[in-house]
Subunit: 457 residues, 2 copies
Amino acid sequence: MTDLTAQLADLAAAVGEADLLTGPDSMEPYRRDWAKDPSVGMPCAVLRARSVDQVVAAMRWAAETGTPVVPRGAGSGLSGGSSAVDGALTISLDRMTGIEIDVPTRTARVEPGALNIDVKRAAAAHGLWYPPDPSSYEICSIGGNLATNAGGLCCVKYGVTTDYVLGLDVVLADGRLLRLGGRQVKDVAGLSLMKLFVGSEGTLGVIVGATLRLVPALPPAATLVASFPTVRAAADAVVAIGAALRASMMELMDNASINAVEDFRSMGLDRSAGALLVAQSDSPGQARTAEIEAMAAACATHGATEVFTTDDADEGELFCAARRAAFPAIEMRGSLLLEDVGVAVPLLPRLLDGIAEIAQRQGVDIPVVAHAGDGNTHPIIVYDASDADSGARDRTAFDEVMALAISLDGTITGEHGVGRLKKSALPAQVGEHVMAVSRAIKAALDPQGLLNPGAVL
Amino acid sequence: MTDLTAQLADLAAAVGEADLLTGPDSMEPYRRDWAKDPSVGMPCAVLRARSVDQVVAAMRWAAETGTPVVPRGAGSGLSGGSSAVDGALTISLDRMTGIEIDVPTRTARVEPGALNIDVKRAAAAHGLWYPPDPSSYEICSIGGNLATNAGGLCCVKYGVTTDYVLGLDVVLADGRLLRLGGRQVKDVAGLSLMKLFVGSEGTLGVIVGATLRLVPALPPAATLVASFPTVRAAADAVVAIGAALRASMMELMDNASINAVEDFRSMGLDRSAGALLVAQSDSPGQARTAEIEAMAAACATHGATEVFTTDDADEGELFCAARRAAFPAIEMRGSLLLEDVGVAVPLLPRLLDGIAEIAQRQGVDIPVVAHAGDGNTHPIIVYDASDADSGARDRTAFDEVMALAISLDGTITGEHGVGRLKKSALPAQVGEHVMAVSRAIKAALDPQGLLNPGAVL
């Protein structure tokens, strides 16, 4: 037997054969995430873990054999964060889907493979709500959400994943199980390790459990949809609204994304609009009406050509669906590179003007949807995968969009994570000292460099 | 000249003599924080820094000479986090008080010595609000708030300091200046270093600047005050309310703290009540009324003997002032050891029963005020500093209260920080693996162990 065969036999003995995949065909579905990185490697094995003990045993085996490990949730990441690495062990948490709601403490105890939507459903059954809502919430895992500090449409008012983490269980690079936090809402005992692991994209440990904070369920939202002649006008309205109230959703679509959605499924959006705002208020009672009216007035003041509002939750949901349809709609048009750049909200017009300029200069299409209320945008670079030149221009455009965001003192990633696709731009954004400190912390926690090598740093 | 004299001459040359204190009398005010730890050391010098450059120069000097450094804000900490260390350099940030409000981005750029109340005032001048409100907000510094991840009364609805940090500038143990984050609200580029430094209590770096997130100012709150025969009844009301709505304040006072306040300044509180709840709703319009009514109903359901509500902001403020008066009121009665233990809200009755049992067994008074809405309590151990036996019983009670919180799966500190006073209990709460990981991260960032030695770890 080769060394690898012997080592895999040891691994199978440690975790059980039943959950270990080693054949190329069986491992194929676990190689890529939604970034569909063509350069993904081939794992030595895929463990579909059912228990914390298996993850611990697998990590110990990895440490002893010096085998890299790639943690994986639902594989819906957009940055290559769970792309397989040649010869590494992929640990998929997809089978660990447990969810327990504790009503008196308003917490959810979850396993990392539980889907975001299932956590929401479980909470809703008790009149509670887990707010973070990435657009992929129906198919993404909580573990992945935690690893990337996922955001979503409601974050403009309700914050992001890290704001809801009360407890976290992490298996470290040497197999130690770290239990952080608990069920209390406020806890400053010791260093803020929990908040270090959230967003660490599998590079510091494998998340095997979490305690999430829930809030009381809210009344249904009222929705506003406004058309503007330009993105600048829409962004100015967003700034004005943000000074006065906390919308529960504030999304923007540019002309290109509006048209992509209308091509995909006619939803009655105004194809001639320079930009569309889809906003919501979930304040109670009269306050909701007042906030919608205030938003409508701000839109009118900033040149909206049309403003539509509705109290009807289902009707409002149609417009949210239109916004969420942007990604699958644009996917119909070719291969995609999805950006996640963010800037301070008042700089949105400059960012989007710059993206349009890059698109024109590189000869690529870059429709944009944005969580305008927090300045986080998703320019979606469309290219023809069968055309090598198109692919090169698209990659150049991808890098230029990130450089543009950095030049506006923004971020290359507001919620998706650096993964593998964006790491080349990270040093330019954060600088050499931050890179050095990050590497020092990584080295302290993972001296062999086994955890998700090639991601982030 | 001795080595020290030569070294201090080098320091004076690096930072300027004008801001460097070296005489015992001039350094005396910078030796203690509000924990009034009698075992504080004597610094070798105190730098009252005016600029980031001075802090950088001082840290470089400290690294070269192997001199420990104690960062200090306003010195209002309650855990000995800025207690002077023999022969260390205390760097006081009290002179760095700059505050700039940027309205379009809804951010405040602040220096670490700026007082929390001054940040609030500056924001309010522009119709904006910086929520975190520790009870000491009128005299505590933002730098101290950041170092401890300070909480406050509004946190039950609005979160804690770390939820408001968009950017952070930190001087590391070797003098490197780390610039983290920016003005964008969502940013997951790289490791969550910013959130690691917040709450690190001066052990990982010296905070020299921050960008804080502001929110639109809110309408005035309505207030509810309810008397209960027992703490348990009040805590049950808190759980019931929390399942239905987000109060903007939910504070509890026990019989001992009520009476201490009434002894201090008659405010008309019910001296016979087992517990008092002081709660607020700042929802808009009719929703505020509805929430107050819902809270009142829940109080009545859970045995409140009296419920009083008011829409008048000033009248409401009087009751908040009564709650905030607890600490100075109890200070009139002797020397204090202030606890900050927290548990999941439904466990409040068990925690408070346990505290009462410790008080009786140790023969000490332990009045309790609590941020009941998030389970964070402040038992205040009163003792006679001139009586050695009283001091010993009080220290035993202090340790037992922390052990009690740990036995209820809670925390030894919800918002004040571990500092020096609580570090003996930290390993029992977090366990050996968390301690080891914390030390590894500390060692990675501060290999010489210069930053705030003796605090936290």
